[in-house]
């Protein structure tokens, strides 16, 4: 693909998609903290947002360092899917009825 398209896609990935991944992981990390570290729901949300900044940063750096754009987008898509699956799988765990147990 030509250079301009390549550059455009990378910039889009480093800005919009990086932010999107941060959002996805701010959801996906919550069950991980709830189950893995047995945090309270409020702490889990806190930690996951703090780590989502790291995710955003990593995606921004990766957008410009991965050699092929196709591979970049593919891996980001897979990562996002994994994140959303984790969130969907455990969302029942964190539903309001479980709040009393979670918090």
């Amino acid at each position: 693909m030509n250079i301009k398209l390549d550059l455009g896609l990378r910039i889009f990935s480093a800005t919009a998609i990086a932010y999107g991944m941060a959002v996805v992981f701010s959801f996906a990390l919550v069950p991980i903290f709830l189950l893995g570290f047995s945090s309270v729901i409020s702490d889990a949300v806190y930690f996951s947002i703090m780590l989502s900044y790291v995710v955003c940063f990593a995606v921004a750096i990766a957008s410009f360092s991965v050699t092929s754009v196709k591979r970049l987008y593919l891996s980001l898509f897979i990562a996002a899917s994994i994140g959303l699956t984790i969130h969907a799988a455990f969302v029942s765990l964190c539903s309001p009825s479980h709040f009393i147990i979670c918090s």
Partner: protein
């Protein structure tokens, strides 16, 4: 993207840095100035408000409580914010069901009580603080912009590490005469030295507004951020006032003894707030200074009127504490004068780092055929960076002018008794004038640099900065409430600002002189600074 990881990082560093350089420079410069926000406010108000920091004694507290009881006997909460050692004034406040009030006071030796004083109506140093995270665009999402800038700075610092080719061999190198080499080495040295500083500042900036930047999961799991906050942050439990009970007199000496027992002797009292002061079960909450703890929540003790300990706040868990520590690191309230000066110099180095990055890029392109846009960017660069320095000087000059007017208009006794600021009779209040002056000067210098030829614009801005800072410093030296009085009283806050003004004036004078004597037309840019150390306390240092 590029053949190697390193080359991609160089590309990223260059372009991410370039696009956000000016915004980041403005944020870092005003942010660095806000390390001294209380000192700047104190300096601005010095002529009108001669506050002196004194450790509050039991007597002072008693008198303050008496003042409050006269002013608001039936309040829900009283508060005393004690004067701090950075020049911050003492304030009293109260809160009723409907309203809140707070006012600055000063000890009046004649009446023996605390009398309301009318501080100069100015934003003071807090303008720089709020500017650096809102860009004065509070209602237009300024904080989002600064958040993006913080993330870009993190990317810039990280990619910069890879850009720096011989990281360890050139660790201490600073090559002299050649301008481009000098700039590159300066950029490298400052970059390396401020890696931890920039990382902490930028990451903590993102953490401070954790409710704003990625809020979606908060709103998914909670009703609002406030609900989340109520579950992570701890506070003193609400107490209900015992009706039909009269307040017992507060045993202040006993209370102070309790504080000394708990905190030793090296603390400074920050504030005292009293819940339901007119009832028997009034709760006295003493808060101390941040001391040498990084968290942005300072320790406090709750006592009853007799000085006995009441139930304390439960400790917060790890997640909240991590954010508190980063928040505390960012604000640096714990910094005593030497550490504050070091942090200030690190902040200045970061500002120079950002500005020198743009200069390097511009210098590199000078070798090639200079496109029109490069000329424009060079001019804009000078205008934006040095223009901001000039705007800061103008802002401080404005406050000096205003305080001179006020001092001319009335005696200090008059200032103590008049409730409303007499300066508010203008259609535009002083604060609006300050703001307009700040942005006006900034814009004017940008325009001047665009309109004039490159070397002329630079000389003009340097001259203006040198004159402005010299005027400020000279006025300081000669004024009645200036440096000499501060030296007498040991007013460190005031002296710090005076010293910074002197250093800025010296710096710009030297730069202007070097520019002015450089007569070779070929060299459009200024001569490199030979051996003029990028001093620790050099203010507004940038290329």
């Amino acid at each position: 993207m590029k053949p190697t990881f390193r080359k991609s990082m160089i590309w990223l560093h260059t372009y991410a840095g370039l696009f956000f350089a000016w915004l980041l420079f403005a944020i870092f410069l005003t942010g660095t100035l806000s390390y001294y926000n209380t000192e700047i406010s104190h300096w601005m108000r010095a002529q009108v408000n001669t506050n002196q920091h004194v450790e509050p004694s039991a007597n002072d507290i008693q008198r303050a409580l008496h003042t409050l009881s006269q002013r608001a006997p039936e309040a829900v909460q009283w508060g005393i914010d004690f004067a701090d050692d950075r020049g911050g004034p003492m304030r009293l406040r109260y809160r009723t069901e409907e309203e809140r009030h707070s006012w600055t006071v000063v000890a009046s030796p004649e009446t023996g009580t605390f009398v309301e004083t009318n501080p100069l109506e100015t934003r003071g140093g807090d303008f720089f603080r709020t500017f650096h995270y809102t860009l004065s665009l509070r209602d237009f999402g300024g904080r989002y912009l600064t958040g993006i800038a913080a993330m870009v700075m993190l990317i810039g610092v990280f990619s910069g590490i890879y850009t720096h080719r011989r990281f360890f061999q050139d660790f201490f190198t600073l090559r002299g005469p050649d301008k481009l080499k000098y700039l590159k080495d300066l950029h490298a040295v400052f970059g390396v030295v401020t890696i931890p500083f920039c990382f902490v500042i930028c990451f903590s900036a993102l953490l401070i507004y954790i409710s704003m930047y990625v809020p979606f999961s908060i709103h998914h799991y909670f009703d609002s951020y406030r609900q989340l906050d109520s579950q992570v942050s701890t506070r003193y439990s609400r107490i209900e006032p015992q009706d039909d009970s009269l307040a017992k007199p507060a045993n202040i000496p006993n209370m102070l003894a309790q504080l000394n027992a708990q905190w030793g002797s090296g603390y400074r009292l920050d504030s005292l707030s009293i819940d339901y002061p007119h009832r028997e079960n009034a709760r006295y909450i003493f808060t101390r200074d941040k001391g040498k703890y990084l968290s942005n929540k300072s320790e406090s003790i709750a006592l009853n009127h007799a000085g006995e300990r009441l139930e304390s706040m439960p400790k917060e868990r790890l997640a909240r504490n991590i954010r508190r520590i980063f928040y505390g690191l960012h604000e640096a309230h714990f910094a005593e004068p030497v550490l504050r000066a070091v942090l200030f110099s690190l902040g200045m180095m970061s500002s120079v780092l950002i500005a020198s990055g743009v200069s390097i890029w511009l210098n590199k392109r000078q070798g090639k055929t200079q496109a029109k846009k490069d000329k424009w960017i060079t001019k804009l660069h000078v205008g934006v960076t040095y223009g901001l320095c000039l705007a800061v000087a103008g802002y401080m000059l404005c406050s000096r002018f205003v305080s001179w007017q006020v001092a001319k208009g009335g005696s200090s006794a008059a200032m103590h008794t008049e409730p409303a600021a007499s300066m508010n009779t203008n259609a535009m209040s002083v604060m609006d004038i300050e703001l307009s002056l700040f942005f006006g000067i900034w814009l004017a210098s940008v325009i001047a640099c665009i309109v004039l030829a490159n070397h002329l614009g630079k000389r003009l801005v340097f001259l203006a900065c040198a004159l402005a800072f010299s005027a400020l410093f000279m006025q300081d030296l000669l004024a009645k409430h200036g440096v000499l009085l501060a030296l007498q009283r040991g007013d460190l806050a005031y002296l710090t600002i005076s010293l910074l003004l002197f250093l800025s004036a010296a710096y710009f004078a030297v730069r202007f002189y070097r520019l002015a004597i450089n007569k070779t037309g070929a060299q459009e840019n200024d001569t490199p600074r030979r051996g003029n150390k990028p001093q620790r306390k050099h203010v507004e240092e940038s290329h």
